[in-house]
Symmetry: C2
Subunit: 299 residues, 2 copies
């Protein structure tokens, strides 16, 4: 019987939305909470949280509060990066998830602070002081998230992106940029999910990391494809902006058809990595479904 991905996603998305709404405090000083909630709530695909929860399920940690906290922490990091990316000194984007971007709605200074505070809140979520998450898991997750979002992760990838607008990159350079810019956080989703499990065999741990890496790359290739094939309404953000900004993309590098073939090949590699985990097939169904969704998504 085919796995019902939508049926799996629905309750998990509800948990994530509810937790994000509970944990991003609207009362924070001087409108900061409001700006942060604008950035986080309503409209995200929640891919990273879902990947984390599906990985937790694969390693037998479904339903753990540690996993839910890590899932939300990832989304806060993702959200802060979008807030800062959208600012006039970066991509200068006015539309995000169909809504005005944070700096358009609340001003640049508040957007800067909201992004900064979202990053701090991510680490706050990972380190509850009520005994609900073991210190070993707190330390492991905080370490993974810090490395994935920092200068040898997401922020470093953005710096490479910034430095190469209008320049032609080799495939290796492009891959390095995306491995950091978007890949690191997607890989981290899988790794934090594993960190929430107990006694995960090394074989499974390594294969899941490979899955996370390949999926991150696939995600970016598809992103580049959608930038040229989809329209703004479907994307919920400005389409064609990479091409307009003369940004290096897989489509620019290899052409549309070859990029599509490459995405399919990466999807197959991701599925193979799941098989290589040696974990029971029924526990891997959600990860398989999500990987398929990443490659075949329309926005």
């Amino acid at each position: 019987m085919a796995f019902d991905l939508k049926g799996w996603m629905q309750p998990h998305l509800l948990r994530v939305e509810q937790a994000l709404s509970d944990w991003v405090d609207a009362q924070a000083p001087a409108g900061l909470g409001e700006a942060m909630r604008h950035a986080v709530l309503d409209g995200g695909k929640r891919l990273r949280p879902l990947l984390l929860l599906a990985t937790a399920e694969a390693v037998g940690a479904e339903g753990s509060i540690a996993a839910l906290r890590a899932a939300c922490a990832l989304e806060l990091i993702h959200a802060y990066s979008l807030v800062h990316d959208d600012m006039p000194c970066m991509d200068n984007d006015v539309l995000r998830r169909g809504k005005p971007t944070v700096h358009v709605q609340f001003g640049q200074a508040q957007a800067l602070l909201a992004g900064d505070a979202l990053q701090a809140l991510a680490f706050e979520l990972l380190t509850p002081q009520d005994g609900s998450v073991p210190p070993t898991v707190q330390a492991a997750c905080a370490g993974l998230l810090a490395r994935a979002s920092g200068y040898w992760g997401m922020a470093g990838g953005q710096a490479i992106d910034l430095a190469h607008v209008g320049k032609r990159l080799s495939e290796d350079q492009l891959r390095q940029m995306h491995r950091l810019k978007t890949g690191a956080l997607l890989l981290c989703s899988v790794q934090m999910g594993v960190a929430c499990g107990a006694d995960v065999p090394d074989t499974a741990r390594l294969a899941l990391s490979r899955f996370g890496e390949v999926l991150g790359l696939a995600f970016q290739v598809v992103d580049d494809i959608l930038d040229v094939t989809a329209d703004s309404a479907t994307l919920g953000k400005t389409a064609g902006k990479d091409a307009a900004a003369d940004k290096p993309t897989y489509v620019a590098l290899m052409g549309l058809q070859a990029a599509q073939r490459y995405a399919d090949q990466l999807a197959q590699e991701a599925m193979q990595a799941l098989t290589d985990t040696g974990l029971p097939r029924e526990r891997l169904a959600a990860l398989q479904g999500l990987a398929g969704m990443v490659v075949h998504r329309s926005h």
Copy 2:
């Protein structure tokens, strides 16, 4: 015999400078490491790291690698907040520690990313993966730092500051703003120092927290005083800018002389809190010396 504060500070400052230089990687992608090092190295007073190391000494954790890492993490958070504060959409400052600010030297986009990456690196330093710091200490320090720098800490205080330029605040409102904006991170310096110690008695823990709170307030009152009494060359930043920007300050609220008396009173409260710790006097000498320095500093 009087305590030789300078003699105590010198080796500790050397350790911190060396560690910061070792741990902020110049090779990070696309010039990001360079921008981060510009923000962090050469010129800071390192008050927060010194407070942390002095607290660690008070609770018997001198020389611990956990304390050194926490000390540097604090400085990275402080440095990132200055980078973002100086940007055109915030204070628009061009001079910091006698050097061009990061956005002047490297551009606004790189400054934004450098600040973001410095915050992530702070949490990276707290969570080494080599077994050198126990997971309980990693989790405790990451939790304290996240809360001190987030929306109910430093970032929240900055939001209040931003929202009240040109408005008159009550003393309570002003105190709340500074308790968050600068006080939270100074208190955190003390609390992370305590977290590096083993079996610290509750009496000492609570009295040290009170010390940290009072010192944070004193620091800000003195900062406001120096903004009107010192010149730019001594400060290493633009003097008189609070008054020029019509920012609420203790001097604006209570007048210069009353603000100076208030700073002296807070200094006495801080010393009393140290006595109340019940810790051996010789272990408290460095904290006493630093508190005196905060109140009597000229920049």
